[in-house]
């Protein structure tokens, strides 16, 4: 629709998403997740997953190294806090720029290959960054300890306007401390913005080009399009999203460690995207929320809580159930994640969004048996 800014469906989706995100502290409270620390992580990993989906969901290139950009974003933000100012905005700007440059270089090299070769190349670059951050680049990354703010950082800009801090320095926004719900709404604003841009990209001619790279790259090339600039743009954009998410994590908790760049962290964002639904707009965000929610809830459970939960059973059976279920919670919650993931990939490759779509289709079919056109919901 060229005359209107957004189609009606898009607008509704965007408004709905905004309301759901902003109201999270209210509707998540009954689930025991209504506290700012977790909500901030929901927002941050939501941004990360939305960005990853722009690459994997639209172009089909499976990157196993996106955590590198996330880590680079974190390090850049912390350095901006240390050297320039504790204000969050410059840190975010620098983080996005630096991770975009990283993504440009790495993407330029990796996109010369496709398929599994691309995945391995991105993995190789991410592991290189991780290993270097741990060893030789210790002056920049502070190695195993992680980069953190100290009282005697120079903070040139803050010093210039005569701003001083008492106690442990924390990131601010125009002098306002970004902790608690202020931090959450700061991150939420960025998630909504990130979602908006992703929506615009998906609906744009550029987004169509990316989708056609996924469905048939050879045909695109025969039609006379050079696909590489498009794929590279998608790679850089998703790298910028990752950098933004990394910077936000540094804003809410100004400590950057190398383990953020490890390949298991890259695997996590792949899991989020798949779990929610590859190629859909809200899917990756939902996937990120679910994984972070269960990580938080399941890893906090212990034997005592389980014993209380199973206490309605006869003694022997209750003990047995506690022993069995304790393998799946606490430290063992990764086992639950792995099982869930295997089941999703086997039975529901489209992720949760496909499940929702199937249920919706089934409901519609049973509700109006005469309806003969099954329109796919807008993605």
């Amino acid at each position: 629709m060229p005359t209107t800014f957004m189609s009606r469906n898009d607008l509704l989706l965007f408004l709905g998403f905004t309301i759901v995100v902003l109201a999270m502290p209210i509707w998540l409270a009954p689930f025991g997740a209504g506290y700012p620390d977790l909500l901030q992580r929901f927002m941050i990993y939501g941004i990360f997953a939305v960005g990853f989906n722009i690459l994997f969901g639209l172009t089909g290139y499976l990157s196993f190294g996106h955590a590198a950009f996330f880590g680079v974003g974190s390090y850049t933000a912390v350095w901006s806090f240390k050297l320039l100012t504790l204000d969050a905005i410059p840190a975010m700007v620098f983080a996005v720029i630096v991770s975009a440059l990283f993504a440009l270089v790495i993407g330029f090299l990796c996109l010369r290959r496709s398929g599994i070769y691309f995945s391995i190349l991105t993995l190789a670059f991410a592991q290189m960054s991780y290993n270097l951050a741990y060893s030789v680049l210790t002056p920049i990354t502070n190695g195993e300890t992680g980069l953190q703010l100290t009282l005697n950082d120079p903070r040139v800009l803050d010093a210039a306007i005569g701003q001083t801090f008492v106690g442990q320095p924390v990131p601010t926004l125009f002098g306002q401390q970004l902790s608690g719900y202020a931090g959450f709404y700061f991150c939420a604003g960025f998630l909504i913005l990130a979602f908006f841009f992703a929506q615009r990209i998906t609906g744009s001619p550029f987004g169509m080009m990316l989708k056609s790279i996924k469905s048939n790259q050879t045909r695109m090339q025969f039609t006379g399009f050079n696909t590489r600039p498009y794929a590279l743009s998608a790679f850089v954009i998703s790298g910028m999203y990752a950098g933004l998410a990394g910077a936000l994590l540094a804003v809410t908790d100004p400590l950057a460690g190398a383990e953020r760049m490890q390949w298991t962290a890259s695997g996590e964002v792949v899991l989020m995207t798949i779990l929610g639904g590859v190629g859909t707009l809200v899917g990756p965000v939902i996937g990120a929320w679910i994984i972070k929610y269960f990580e938080n809830i399941l890893s906090a459970l212990n034997d005592n809580i389980l014993a209380r939960f199973w206490s309605f059973l006869p003694d022997g059976m209750a003990d047995f159930m506690v022993t069995v279920t304790s393998k799946f919670v606490g430290d063992g919650w990764h086992l639950t994640l792995g099982l869930l993931f295997v089941i999703i990939v086997i039975f529901l490759p489209g992720g949760i969004m496909e499940g929702v779509r199937r249920i919706a289709a089934a409901v519609r079919r049973s509700g109006t048996p005469a309806a003969k056109t099954q329109t796919q919901p807008a993605e």
Binding site: L109, H334, L335
Partner: protein, 343 residues
């Protein structure tokens, strides 16, 4: 100078041997079934934990209290004796001592079963699916295997002693007619290298000189035609998956004295062996073996202090750097076939 280089070369061999064995199995699975198996590192780890389990059973002890003797602290002396030793006498003692090589005998059937069950149970349903989904499901399986091991054996590495007779170092320099005690090399690493050479040769011989291997090779070249000839190629490919699992498992068992196994052993080796496979060329068995040894030796040279003084941090990234360079200048890896995995 020559001695130093030769020693580094030797040092790279055992790690290279492990890479080569894992990469061989990965390539075997990819070449036959066309599946990118991210759970292969987990099979390596499972093999290592077979050795741990065998040793746990072998070292179960009986504790009897000998009232006639006193321990240095004045309490009755506790006599601990491994059950196996009590039952089998000296042979039992040898068994405990040689638990690691002995575990191989038990690991082979276990890994064969695990491999076949995995292929029939899950991987079978993924032949027609995109490679991305194969990567994802096997990645999930790898997480599950890793977490199961963690919940059984705990998060800490479990050291496995090597047999007492094989603990020393071999004086390879003297053996080759050079000055004595210049080039010495731990005996177990030498054994690991010889072992892997035997296994690799065995796999190649199996594929090259048996009818079964011939059919499998034909199936790798053109699966459909072989199927049309009335040969049940699927069953043979399942066996090949089992074989790949056995190779990975054996590699894991023999590696335990060199590196105490813990639950993320598989993931640590997986990334590197994938790099090895890609460098060697997807689907090329000789390529996988060659690249395994090549990268192992390169890594060993990169960790020399003289090299690190010139390029700091090179030991951390050499493998990935080589992989990036090779993939960019030789897209199919060292010995890759045309048209494999190029979507």
């Amino acid at each position: 100078m020559f001695e130093v280089i030769f020693l580094q070369f030797l040092n790279g061999l055992d790690k290279g041997a492990a890479y080569a064995l894992i990469a061989l199995g990965l390539t075997l699975v990819f070449g036959t079934l066309g599946v990118v198996n991210f759970a292969h590192g987990a099979l390596f780890m499972l093999g290592a934990f077979c050795a741990v389990t065998v040793r746990m059973f072998l070292t179960m002890e009986t504790v009897t209290i000998d009232p006639t003797k006193l321990s240095p602290w004045g309490s009755p002396l506790e006599v601990r004796e491994p059950l196996v030793q009590a039952w089998l006498g000296d042979f039992g003692a040898v068994l405990v001592n040689y638990s690691v090589p002995f575990s191989i005998l038990i690991t082979i059937p276990i890994m064969l079963l695990v491999g076949i069950a995995l292929e029939r149970g899950i991987i079978k349903h993924f032949y027609k699916r995109p490679h991305a989904e194969q990567i994802l499901v096997t990645f999930g399986l790898a997480i599950v295997a890793q977490e199961v091991i963690k919940s059984i054996f705990g998060p800490n590495p479990i050291p496995q002693p090597m047999p007492t007779d094989l603990r020393g170092a071999a004086d390879i320099g003297a053996f080759l007619g050079m000055q004595a005690n210049v080039i010495t090399y731990p005996l177990w690493r030498l054994i690991y290298f010889v072992f892997s050479a035997v296994v690799i040769a065995g796999v190649f011989a199996f594929l090259q000189f048996t009818t079964f291997g011939m059919v499998v090779r034909a199936g790798m070249a053109d699966r459909e035609t072989v199927g049309l000839l009335g040969i049940n190629i699927d069953r043979r490919f399942t066996v090949m998956f089992g074989l790949a699992a056995v190779v990975a498992g054996m590699a894991g068992v023999m590696y335990t004295p060199l590196l105490p196994p813990n639950y993320h052993l598989g993931m640590d080796f997986l990334v590197l062996s994938f790099v090895v496979v890609v460098v060697g060329g997807m689907g090329s068995l000789p390529g996988a073996v060659a690249a395994g040894f090549l990268l192992g030796i390169l890594q060993s040279f990169a960790s020399m202090t003289q090299v690190k003084a010139i390029v700091p941090g090179i030991d951390q990234i050499i493998i990935y750097l080589v992989a990036v360079v090779i993939l960019l200048v030789r897209p199919r890896g060292l010995l890759g076939r045309r048209g494999v995995m190029e979507s």
